[in-house]
Amino acid sequence: MLKEDYAQATHTQCYHCGEDCEAEIIKAEDKSFCCQGCKSVYDILNKVELCNYYNLEKNPGLNQKTRIRPEKFAFLDDALVQQKLINFKDDIHSHATFYLPQMHCSSCIWLLENLGKVNRYIARSQVNFLKKEVKIVFEHKHTGLREMAEMLTSIGYEPHLSLNDLSDKPVSTYDKSRIYKIGITGFCFGNIMLLSFPEYFSLGHIEDIKLQRLFSYLILGLSLPVFFYSASEFFLSAWKSYKQKFLNIDTPIALAILITFVRSVYEILSGTGAGYLDSMTGIVFFMLIGRFFQNYTYNTISFNRDFTSYFPIGVTLLKENGSEEQVPVSAIRAGDRIKVYSQEIIPADCILFMGKATIDYSFVSGESQPVEKGIGEIIYAGGRQLGGALEMEVVKDVSQSYLTQLWNNDTFKKEEHKEESYIHKVSKYFTIVLFAIALITAAYWQLNDPAKMWNAVTSILIVACPCALLLSATFTNGNMLRVLQNFGFFARNALVIEHLAKADTIVFDKTGTLTKQSTFTVNYEGSELNEETISCIRSLVNQSSHPLSKAIAAALPSGKKWPVKQFEEKQGLGISGYIRNDFYRIGSALFVQKTTGFGADGSIVYVQCNDSIIGSFNVKAPYRKGLKPLFNALKSDYKTALLSGDNEQEFTNLKSYFNGELLFHQSPQDKLDYIKRLQKDKFKVIMLGDGLNDAGALKQSDTGIAITDNINNFSPACDVIMKGESLPFLNKLINYCQNNKTIINTSFVMSVLYNIVGLFFAVQGELSPVIAAILMPVSSISIVLLTTGMSSLMAIPLKRAFREKARISNENDINHLAA
């Protein structure tokens, strides 16, 4: 304990980002910064008196160690790009919206809403925190889009601009028309109920005939917008399904609304009764609320991302005279020469002709280790360059590259045609039974008392509306989506819940799905290291920015720092240098001229001191925690399989956890084909993946689940986006989805009971508006309470499991099993 406190005291926190100042401490006034980047952000804010930023939250900034190339946003000068990115433009002002994934606290909001102080040509800036967007209004005569992006970058908020922003898709906002409909229907429903009270209390006999007429006509007038505007979607949907010779759930609803309306209008105009318009507007109102509840959309999550949202907008084009130009990615053609800088994504398939490529394909192909490429080799699009700048020649247009071809696959072209919802099947039977009852009643009254026939038949259709049935589905699903959201499980829509419940096969991807990206575990093998050697190794690896060096540096305990003389970094091989008169080489087997074996496979980094190899570091991406109990639980109920783009080195470790195949070296197409094969054998497949390489398989599977550590990051098109930390609870989440049917069935039974009561009156031709008006809201409200109550209640075991998450011991960790 004491030791820890001491360690904390010796570390200086960066005033801007709050990280420990490790390599160097930069002092400015009385503040310390961990890097020049952080200090320059502070300088900018200090200059324009925006230092309040630091008072609102403690160390609100983001680390600025990775520098951004000054020319990066030059493509924003392109008129075509500007036209697409600027939402609105008048003579003086332009409106542009930037997506800033770094936004995370109230300091961010404050700073971003005071941008006018940083650049005086910014008239207004407004933040939408949930969407992580800032809308900037600026004077385009004095400043431009590029300056905006550069200014945001300079204060630590680099805007995320992708190729997807340039497509002509409309900006997706929530469906406003449904909110209007709910508002108008609620208004009409409430007022109609109010005007119906005299009718209810006088039991259908209002003395003053004038007053009765007034109420009736007012009710009729108020019901018109509901019938013609709000209920229109039910009619449209019913009409569409009728044309396809198919009875969907909207058919009986549309029929009930239509018949209720026609009969009520007839009764009111002929003065024979008060009509059932109160019930009708109520049905429409509850139904619209139910749909709104079910079609809830998440603010920041997009399920339809394709490669365009992953690719950058701009790329550096090398002209024949040697000059560089920033052009939109869509403008590059085969034969062009481009330059790709460190940390940039390769936009098209290219041949390398200058520089040394270290490409991270983990997101594209699932290979966990960076790939080295030499001059003359083909580099596929989608990889991220980790080393220095590259010059290459484009061999294929962006739209035809190896990676994007996956999107030309039939899986992506065909319309979403997954199995119909369970509730639609039930509704078919409901409709058939309903018509049968109506026909029998009609026949009975035709024989006994023909005058009563129409009254009875229309009453049946009015009262036996399947709205309770529909409400039970919409509210159960809607509530379940919300519950699941709390557990980091974001389902695209309600149908996904039903598909999940039916699945019998689960296929996992490895890299990024089972393993965690951007973190490493480092195991050391070899002769024991003393404190001094550790500090020497640490000093050397600190000089390099290679991911393996960084991983090793992070794994070693901190200590003394030594100067490194004659430091040399050989791209793709290793690093070397003199520390305290000893010559150290750290790198691959080839680099240290290894002759005797230490480790066996994986990413092994050897350490050589003078002439002897002292040991090796095995750097691996760690598995997520708590997978062992998950796999064991899944194995008994599901067929489980693994598809990995990586090599077989983990086969023996993982074999015992799966009861299906474990396939390695799988290309994106292989994965897709594997899912197809399973589906041909009538398996219902859940696919879990994370990268572009899984995109085809995710789309093909019955339910595609994308795993991500940050829900705002890019994830391929899928049905569910799931936080990585929730993965150990996958079986419990699926179990929860399986409750869906139980809840719907229970409330369905209840709605049938209500219908029987209603039909009891209706078949006798005795259904008065009062009975209808009581039965309708009581059934609707009780169904809503029952479904939301039950679905929340059933989430309790799930909640308990999540609470115990903290207590999951390391025994359950596959990493330890491997050792």
Binding site: N55, S106, L130, T173, G183, I184, F187, N191, K210
Partner: protein, 61 residues
């Protein structure tokens, strides 16, 4: 009894007023972002310093 005619029409007019207000609020995107304004309103005191200076400037001449 005729007073009921007046009352009913008055109540309807009032209710329609609320309906219009609701439609207006949806139309002007007031439901678009229901989080940021709650944070933004807390900033007023913090930025007072600069607005006070501005106010003084405008008052003095």
């Amino acid at each position: 009894m005729s007073v009921i005619f007046i009352l009913v029409s008055a109540s309807l007019v009032l209710a329609i007023g609320f309906l219009i207000a609701f439609i207006w609020s949806v139309k002007t995107n007031q439901y678009e972002d229901d989080y940021t304004p709650s944070v933004r309103m807390l900033f007023d005191n913090e930025t007072k310093q600069s607005t006070e200076i501005n106010n003084n400037e405008s008052i003095n001449p």
